[in-house]
Symmetry: C2
Subunit: 241 residues, 2 copies
């Protein structure tokens, strides 16, 4: 059996240094909250999600009749139909629709990742289905952590550690880089009481300070989503198994 | 008492996003081995150390009669008087001399850090004297981890965690960013058996594979150096207390 490698890019400015010649699946994660919200949109029937980097693009899509969700600094954009809380995706209105999403960090990370490699969206809520799908494939895996304004978001790093652990446990994945060891070790510290561990993180505090704490607990529920969003020609779609 | 902040930049590509308006001391660390070697050079009587980024600059200095130490990929440069092992600085020959040093990552990190801020060199071997000196000052502290080819070197991150712990214990320093929590938490995992913890790191393995393992243990000896190198107008000098 070919040994596959799982690597972790902990912050966006390091991404360009992770290029390899080997085939990779890139898993983009922004636990709080873009990737959680995207999975939830698909859970509630969205047909496509279009991540856009700028507010202007989002407004442009809205003027064409699209359902637009978005935030800056965690706060819902004035004009948008919804903010970036997964709870705001739990509505009938998005069934069969395309959701346009713009967020402070997550949508930028998705745009950065999308190149020749297959790119999928990871979150704690779809960790189980993501792991099972990755195990059936043959490529290496690189987790791209969206973080916060080019710095590290530990919630994304511990997700990477959780994914690395679950893949390595199956025996076909190797952890051999310092970033992966780091993510794995931090996940060991976090996993027995995630809510306590995350309470000190910058972004947790930021969301609580703007009244968005209700969604935080949901963002760390492992395996409650059955959606695996993947990048296909400019939009995210739900993988059909 | 003014609350001071300690931050950790875990890899060079993130450095530009750590700029603040507050006065900072920048601590550059490359545990394996540039910063350890620089401290050792001063312990053994070097008057100055000039870090240069390129091999060409190092050759140029040698042709002018300077003592030149350097490596690429951990291996001593052919023409150099010494490699980048701290043991190679434990010689009478450097007493009162200027040592020119070029390494794969450490010297680049020093060049990157040196701007308006006061820049000093940190290593496990001078951790005690560095901590005492920082406590007597008033600026915030930013630890710049040199890492390996723009990626993370966990040996540098756990040094940052050790420094953060020792400063925070004194009560005047605050840890409030995810990078600092990360470094602190990893140090908690490492500190009771550093040699075991570092054995999995990429750079430890790299040094062992090229026969440089004898110096690794020395690089993690806390507080054995009495030298605090600081940047002054193009050279490193030993701080006189």
């Amino acid at each position: 059996m070919k040994q596959r490698i799982i690597e972790v890019c902990p912050a966006l400015p390091m991404f360009e240094y992770f290029r390899t010649d080997r085939a990779q699946v890139i898993v983009v994660v922004d636990v709080l909250r873009a990737s959680t919200t995207i999975c939830t949109a698909f859970d509630y029937g969205a047909e496509k999600v279009i991540p856009v980097a700028t507010v202007e693009e989002a407004m442009d899509y809205q003027s064409k009749g699209y359902f637009v969700a978005g935030e800056r600094g965690g706060i819902k954009l004035d004009f948008a139909d919804a903010g970036n809380s997964p709870f705001e995706m739990m509505i009938d209105e998005i069934k069969g629709k395309t959701v346009v999403l713009t967020t402070t960090n997550g949508t930028q990370a998705i745009q950065m990742a999308c190149g020749e490699n297959l790119t999928v969206i990871g979150a704690f809520i779809n960790l189980t289905i993501l792991k099972d799908w990755l195990l059936q494939r043959s490529e290496d895996v690189l987790v791209l952590c969206a973080g916060w304004e080019n710095l590290i978001g530990l919630e994304d790093v511990i997700f990477a550690g959780a994914l690395a652990e679950s893949l390595a446990q199956e025996g076909s994945f190797l952890m051999n880089s310092d970033e992966t060891f780091m993510a794995y070790d931090l996940w060991q510290l976090a996993k027995y009481d995630i809510q306590a561990y995350i309470s000190k993180f910058s972004h947790t505090k930021r969301l609580i300070s703007i009244g968005q704490d209700e969604s935080i607990e949901y963002c760390f529920k492992i395996g409650v989503s059955m959606s695996l969003p993947f990048w296909n020609n400019g939009t995210l779609q739900k993988y059909i198994f």
